[in-house]
Symmetry: C2
Subunit: 341 residues, 2 copies
């Protein structure tokens, strides 16, 4: 029996320098003298420069670490997967830049967003540059794996990027339409959140030359972990605890976000729907919504969905031989799913 | 001696159906049932659907035809290059969607732009989806060329996309800064306009398995044609003839665009700079600017630049054996450079 409560952190430290080096290399050719301003914005987004630069501003880099762990858990050398790790981190940052414009978000990782500092036109374009850099980063895989496999990775990557935009399309759409089904919701989350986690695991396995079955298992782990993570995030958006206040946030009810428990409430309770459909919600409306939702079973439903998806994710790893990397993956799942906010 | 005055049109007709088929195929997997709205926006951008759909709304598709012509002129089968042709047309449309948001342009090819109809968030995301589709389209080259060569095409493509964003970065930047050098201007145009034309020619040659020298020649043709085209466009922006009025437009002076002749004027004439730097320009100011510019040599300078770059482009084709495809390329150069507006 392995205690995996800190193996992910150990792994993170072990790969840290190599990952940063690969990322710096991938970004380097955007720093041409004439367009140095573009390089500056990319470096800011990566957390490397500007006010507040540092590890916090870089984010947790969960996805690239998943790539490397998946490669190792499938019996490969994680070093071989570094270009793919850089590609997913860059594409993740590309999507954050564009999402922040689309959602009008002014802060990200404790700092003003790119569009807030440099304006929307430059921010859109900087996201595009990072998209191109991500694509280029992936092709550096040719140093470690055969060309046919690099092409396979490329096809999966481009399909994943399309899935990201399909998910984001639905997410934007849901803000303006009345009837969102739970099925549509999962479709949105599959694209927006889970697809890149699934790809991270799959491409890691691909770099380890794993067989199709093992690739599929690892990819399924990423997919279900992503779905579970989003359902958990939705749960905490209503029943999470604000650490400094010691009371529940209900934040997603206040901002009228169509999350999983809300869609459940809208489908199950006319009373919930009546209050929800009001022009504006008072704080007593919010309290009512929450209580109705709990009575209708929304609390239990959401908790069970998280549990079911988590079990599904863990189940995908059952066939995989024990190793420190496998422990780290289990540790990562714990980390992602047990956090509160 | 070949009369090539209509060979480009003949070629366009010959490849038309195959090109449309490849494009439809490349776009098909964005049309998933859940995100059909995304597919609808892409189809609108391609000119295939919505009010005003038709050949005009699709644009002239110059770039994909250059890919196919380059392949044929280098001795290959143009059919082999169809995936690359689709990729450049999709990436061109991606960049138009984002440019139109960044420039706040409300119309494109006679129709309202995507952001005007569906809003900025969906428009940014639709551009991103087309970027992903372009990448995926390119990899279909593996049907006709070896995997190593597909990877080579991919690397060139991603580098080109980065160049596009570097050019666009400068273009946005130039709007807000005072001192733009002629050198900066050419750097901007190289990225924003010429890089994709150079890639179109180069990837066509690559698909024909042309040697490095021939690839370079064809790529140089695209690059210099792009630069000449932009200089010509700048020339016409001041000295072009509005067909229906029979008088000069001076449009780029009115909109205070920092084009090549303007940068020449700012560098060569204090008098020009004094008027240009005013808060607003009257129509007599515009007339003055134009006359000062002509006297200072800006008219001749710009014309000579166009001529020089055109000669450079044509020179790159001198080593290539005569063929109907070569005639079509010369025809295309004529078409692009002799137009008035």
């Amino acid at each position: 029996m392995t205690d995996h409560s800190s193996t992910f952190n150990e792994f993170s430290s072990a790969v840290h320098l190599s990952l940063q080096e690969e990322l710096k290399h991938a970004v380097a050719n955007s720093r041409q003298s004439h367009s140095s301003g573009l390089g500056e914005m990319i470096s800011y987004q990566m957390g490397w420069s500007g006010e507040g630069a540092g590890p916090e501003a870089s984010g947790k880099q969960i996805r690239p670490k998943m790539v490397l762990l998946s490669c190792a858990a499938a019996g490969g050398q994680w070093q071989d997967a570094l270009p793919a790790a850089a590609a997913v981190e860059l594409i993740h940052n590309f999507s954050l830049i564009h999402d922040d414009i689309e959602d009008h978000s002014k802060y990200r990782r404790g700092r003003p967003t790119i569009w807030k500092i440099w304006g929307i036109p430059q921010a859109i374009n900087t996201g595009d540059a990072m998209f191109a850099l991500a694509n280029a980063a992936l092709l550096r895989l040719e140093k470690s794996i055969p060309p046919e496999t690099v092409l396979e990775a490329g096809k999966l990557f481009h399909q994943t990027c399309l899935r990201l935009t399909q998910g984001q399309h639905l997410d934007i759409l849901f803000e303006s339409i009345q009837n969102v089904s739970v099925e549509d919701y999962w479709e949105m989350v599959s694209g927006k959140t889970a697809a890149l986690l699934a790809f991270s695991m799959e491409v890691g396995a691909l770099c380890a030359k794993a067989n199709k079955k093992l690739q599929k298992n690892l990819s399924d782990f990423g997919l279900n972990l992503g779905l579970a993570f989003q359902a958990q995030d939705d749960f905490l958006g209503i029943w999470g605890i604000k650490e400094n206040l010691g009371k529940s946030t209900s934040g997603d009810l206040v901002s009228k976000k169509k999350t999983l428990p809300v869609l459940f409430g809208l489908n199950q309770s006319q009373q919930f729907k009546r209050i929800w459909d009001q022009e504006s919600l008072s704080s007593s409306d919010i309290e009512d919504l929450k209580q109705i939702l709990e009575k209708a079973g929304g609390y239990d439903y959401t908790k069970k969905e998280v549990e079911k998806l988590t079990q599904r994710a863990l189940h995908s790893l059952e066939m995989i031989s024990p190793s420190p990397s496998l422990s780290s993956l289990l540790d990562l799942a714990d980390l992602l799913l047990s956090r509160t906010r």
